[in-house]
């Protein structure tokens, strides 16, 4: 195992296997991954802050086995912040909190290519600060169908007085976020609301949309997964890399841009790869910033 050291504000951090190619069919080494996260850090860190991180580690690269790790590894440096979060079964798990660049680099050195976080902060695990619609296309539907559904969803939510924001999942789908940022919101609220929205969408666009999880219901349709609105679920963090053949990023898109891209008919155009992600974020700023601050109340609950 090769070892390098990087000097950071908190001291020297040992990095291992920097030359290892973790995206072999594309060619993207651990050093490239660390470089990506260092570049995107100013944008991703506010979205990771104080959220219980689930690591999804690919020690042998994206084509080999991965494993989820909820418990913050015991061999963590002393400065890594952690938080105990109660689980459904009554147990508590101590998670890592990625609140600074050093922790982000340390976590990436563990080959945790994908960063998954809950919709609530660790200090208030039952208060979602946003509601999410996870749009997942069932073959042969694709990301363009997701875009169509997302645009209808945006209009519907907007009529209900709710602003929404969209990002690519970095895989095949899209994620629509509705910022809430109110102390009195519960997951029961977000689940009830999102489920009702998904039901209405399915009712009015039965050929395009399903709100049902069952696999056979999803063929050729976009599944609006409302059940992600749960304290025990996590979402891929905006700006996180995904472990696919190419280092695609879960990346925020402007609605206008989505309208344009949806009209072009090329699903690939909706994917954002690492280098483009850093460039676009630096150019446009954090398009997901409002998700962290905008206060909205779910009506009619």
């Amino acid at each position: 195992m090769s070892r390098t050291f990087v000097d950071m504000a908190r001291g020297r951090l040992p990095l291992s296997n920097l030359e290892k190619d973790l995206y072999p069919s594309y060619g993207f080494t651990k050093a490239n991954i660390l470089e990506y996260y260092r570049g995107i850090a100013p944008f991703i860190l506010p979205h990771l802050k104080d959220r219980a991180l689930t690591l999804k580690r690919y020690p042998e690269g994206v084509e080999q086995d991965f494993f989820f790790e909820k418990r913050c590894p015991m061999h963590r440096p002393a400065w890594v912040k952690t938080a105990e979060v109660p689980q459904d079964d009554g147990d508590k798990i101590r998670f890592c909190l990625v609140n600074d660049l050093e922790t982000l680099i340390w976590v990436e050195n563990l080959a945790s290519l994908e960063l998954h976080v809950p919709l609530a902060r660790a200090g208030s695990p039952w208060t979602p600060d946003s509601m999410v619609f996870d749009l997942d296309p069932g073959d042969p539907a694709n990301i363009l169908d997701c875009a169509r559904v997302a645009l209808i969803l945006r209009d519907l939510l907007s009529r209900m007085g709710l602003a929404s924001y969209i990002k690519t999942s970095g895989q095949k789908g899209l994620h629509v976020f509705v910022p809430l940022n109110r102390k009195d919101t519960t997951f029961e609220d977000t689940k009830t609301f999102s489920k009702a929205v998904a039901g209405i969408m399915q009712k009015h666009y039965p050929a395009l949309v399903t709100a049902k999880m069952a696999k056979q219901e999803r063929i050729g349709k976009v599944f609006i997964n409302w059940s992600q609105n749960d304290a025990s679920k996590t979402m891929i963090c905006v700006y996180s890399l995904r472990a696919r053949e190419k280092p695609f990023v879960s990346f925020p898109v402007e609605w206008k841009e989505l309208e344009d891209l949806a009209g072009l008919g090329d699903p690939e155009r909706l994917q954002v790869v690492h280098s483009e992600a850093v460039r676009r974020a630096e150019e446009k700023g954090d398009l997901f910033r409002e998700v962290l601050v905008k206060e909205q109340k779910l009506p009619h609950l």
Partner: protein, 260 residues
């Protein structure tokens, strides 16, 4: 691929400090089952239940109590528990060396291997060799996962092995187990010795396997081939669209969206 370490730090005594990683020495191979609901094969989950209120209890309403008298508890918070937990530590501190043969096997708990980390190989080898030649084991204390363990470090097949030990107050006394001492006749003794001698073999645990596990794995393989698998339902799908007010408002909004 390098073995995944459970813990890394140094093993140290006197002026010696050797960087090591702790790795698993055993992998239990039991076959485990999930509990399913026989009606629809969905995975069952555990919930905490309050028999008094006849209701499920959410995690934020659960506290810890130590039962000191029947139905009388001392409450203990996370912070209080944390305050008595040992400091996380990066060292396996050998406090004494003992004769390997003096370690009573009843104290053995869980075995691990210690692997040298970069730069520690030479000192590691030296310690392995000297401990082997002198038949000594190191008795050490170390902290892992918020617990302090008493451990024995052995030289084994050219490497270091570490076994966590039970604390002596965990070992139950055997005084009531052994029968009263009686006279042993010389003839009886020699007969039993002979029986034992006839059965003496080298220790070769590889000869034995968990027969039940083997049969179970075979049975699973056969069933997987012959029988259709049962499938868990894809989460709950109960109908019902939501609160009437909300549904009406959504319908109204949807009408406007479509009319555009």
């Amino acid at each position: 691929m390098a073995v995944q370490g459970i813990w890394s730090g140094t093993i140290s005594f006197s002026l010696v400090a050797i960087p090591v990683r702790l790795v698993k020495a055993i992998e239990p191979r039991g076959v485990s089952f999930h509990l399913l609901h026989s009606k629809d094969y969905s995975r069952l989950s555990r919930k905490m239940f309050c028999p008094e209120e006849n209701t499920m209890v959410p995690p934020d309403e659960i506290v810890r109590g130590y039962e000191i008298l029947p139905d009388k508890y001392i409450l203990m918070t996370d912070e209080e528990l944390e305050s008595v937990s040992p400091e996380r530590s990066r060292t396996i501190e050998i406090v004494e060396f003992i004769d390997t043969k003096d370690v009573d096997p009843i104290y053995y708990d869980h075995p691990y291997y210690l692997v040298p980390s970069k730069g520690g190989e030479k000192a590691y080898q030296l310690l392995v060799e000297v401990m082997r030649r002198t038949n000594k084991a190191g008795l050490a204390k170390f902290v892992m996962a918020e617990r302090e363990y008493l451990v024995a470090v052995f030289s084994r097949d050219g490497a270091l092995a570490l076994t966590t030990l039970h604390y002596s107050d965990e070992i139950l006394p055997d005084e009531d187990m052994s029968p009263k001492k009686g006279k042993i006749g010389a003839e009886e003794e020699s007969r039993m010795k002979k029986s034992i001698e006839q059965m003496i073999e080298d220790f070769n645990p590889g000869k034995y396997a968990d027969e039940r596990r083997k049969k179970l794995v075979d049975l699973l393989a056969t069933k997987a081939k012959e029988k259709a698998l049962v499938e868990a339902p894809a989460v709950e799908e109960e109908e019902g669209e939501g609160p009437a007010d909300l549904v009406a408002a959504l319908e109204e909004s949807m009408r406007k969206v479509k009319a555009r």
